[in-house]
Symmetry: C2
Subunit: 315 residues, 2 copies
């Protein structure tokens, strides 16, 4: 499977911080209108009555140049006055919603309450922030990643991740609602029109899998006629961010670079590993490139590497 | 109509900042459990999907010792990060909801959405803030003060007051929904058990009238067997706060101290005027006392004056 031209339409699959960084590079390199980002919605939840979409917002804030420079999620120069007052009321305040971030969540909650689907709400928010790339939630329907734990039973993802600081041992993941969910409008067309698909360096089981758990998305990805590249979310045996290694180990996956390549198996046409992992043995075509994306220059460089590799036919 | 003992159960009728200051004095003077405050809900509205109750919150924050020391409304040391981000999205952000204040509004909105009536929600919030006085919304039902203007048609109160900075000329006020509204649970009992009723120095037409527009409250006040005292919201011809003089003038009322005493007429049993207005001629028994309540000492002093006047039989 190869293409002999530079990709003109690219679809990237992304979770939160790690995925957002590569998406940032792609958005800077590709012309306007050439990039569609399918974002995980399995982490979405209601908090204080607000519709919170952590991954959509991380990607959106990153593309708008508003993301917190250290955390990667949330907004730069945000504060937590609301959460502090919640605690004054004796309420948990376990989810650190920033005050500026509340504007996004209030607008989204209100538009959803007026009957707009999540995809339209996301497009509206992105438009107001001047974002050129198209962000699509995997689905407008409710999908919830539920974490089955040894010690605390079945936890909604943010409960597990934030309230319990991803400490309980994970036994199984459930993508509730995914089996009945439909791809968000425009998503299948974007997949059909793409020259190149990319799995961003996001957690395979927490970010990419909930998207592919929507049957029509999985079918479109499996039936595609264009290359699908994946970027490793692990460098030298350690996750770039978050609990990837811990959770994959507990679930019985091999969380090494080779293990993740093996996990994606024949679904992908090429795997990008960091220069630190240049010698790793995998079955797919391999591209070695710096994949630690802590600067704009590195994000742009990796985006260019990926597009060039696709243009050269991936081998 | 007189009582020969010190009041043991007091019910105060209050709007926002002016009323809250006297309530603060009463709460400091009366023993725990002796004070019920009936608060105007005509200014309540939905903003960004949130249930905002300006007067309830002003009284609540004042009693909790959390009110903004200069404004009188809102919380001390609050910020406006959320509103700033709303403006970044290109949204009006005309209502200056503080970030800390959002905690109150989010909690209230969520509890209301779960089916709790406003009175219970208010009791819960007050309990969490350690407030000993009982705050009752005039009604759990929806009442909306609508301002009929010359230039902008019919405006919801906050639209008129905040967005239009109370500049349009007022032709008429409507207390929408009041005619069908029921007093909040416990309110009629509180009125029946009280030894003394007090109209705080709040706007007669914007704060007190919407409460009395609930028919069962008006009937209970008119049929009472105990004294009702009112404190002038005007000193030396100027309102202590806000648009009282402007709006009353436009509505055809005489907004002087004497005019307001005349407006209350036989409904009240005594009227408290400031020392600056000692010579004013009114038909009711008159108490002259300092009623500018900018310090705790003055609030306590006026509360003591009122209770002593009631105990002495009002003359």
């Amino acid at each position: 499977m190869e293409i002999s031209k530079y990709p003109r339409q690219v679809v990237a699959f992304a979770g939160g911080v790690g995925g957002a960084k590569l998406v940032d590079g792609l958005a800077r390199v590709l012309p306007a209108g050439a990039l569609t980002v399918i974002v995980n919605t399995g982490d979405d939840f209601r908090y204080m009555g607000l519709a919170v979409c952590p991954d959509l917002d991380t990607v959106m804030y990153t593309l708008a140049g508003l993301a917190h420079p250290i955390n990667g999620w949330g907004l730069a120069d945000d504060t937590r006055q609301m959460v502090g007052m919640l605690q004054h009321y004796g309420e948990a305040g376990w989810f650190g919603l920033g005050d500026k971030d509340l504007a996004t969540n209030l607008l989204r909650t209100q538009l959803l309450a007026q009957g707009q689907p999540l995809g339209e709400v996301t497009a509206w928010l992105c438009g107001r922030l001047g974002i050129g790339a198209r962000l699509l939630p995997a689905t407008d329907d409710a999908v919830a990643t539920m974490v089955e734990t040894d010690s605390h039973g079945l936890l909604p993802f943010q409960d597990y991740f934030v309230r319990h600081r991803w400490q309980p041992v994970v036994r199984k993941l459930h993508y509730q609602g995914a089996g009945q969910a439909r791809p968000s409008p425009g998503l299948l067309d974007a997949l059909n029109e793409a020259d190149l698909l990319i799995f961003c360096p996001s957690n395979p089981v927490l970010s990419i899998a909930p998207i592919l758990a929507v049957p029509a998305i999985a079918a479109a990805v499996e039936g595609r006629r264009v290359p699908l590249l994946a970027v490793s979310p692990v460098v030298a045996g350690a996750a770039l961010k978050g609990p990837t290694v811990k959770i994959m180990t507990e679930l019985g996956y091999d969380p090494s670079v080779a293990g993740i390549a093996n996990h994606y198996g024949q679904l992908i046409d090429g795997f990008v590993v960091d220069t630190q992992d240049a010698d790793v043995q995998i079955t797919q075509p391999k591209l070695v490139a710096p994949i630690i994306l802590d600067t704009t220059a590195r994000r742009v460089a990796l985006a260019n590497h990926l597009l060039a590799w696709a243009a050269e036919g991936i081998s």
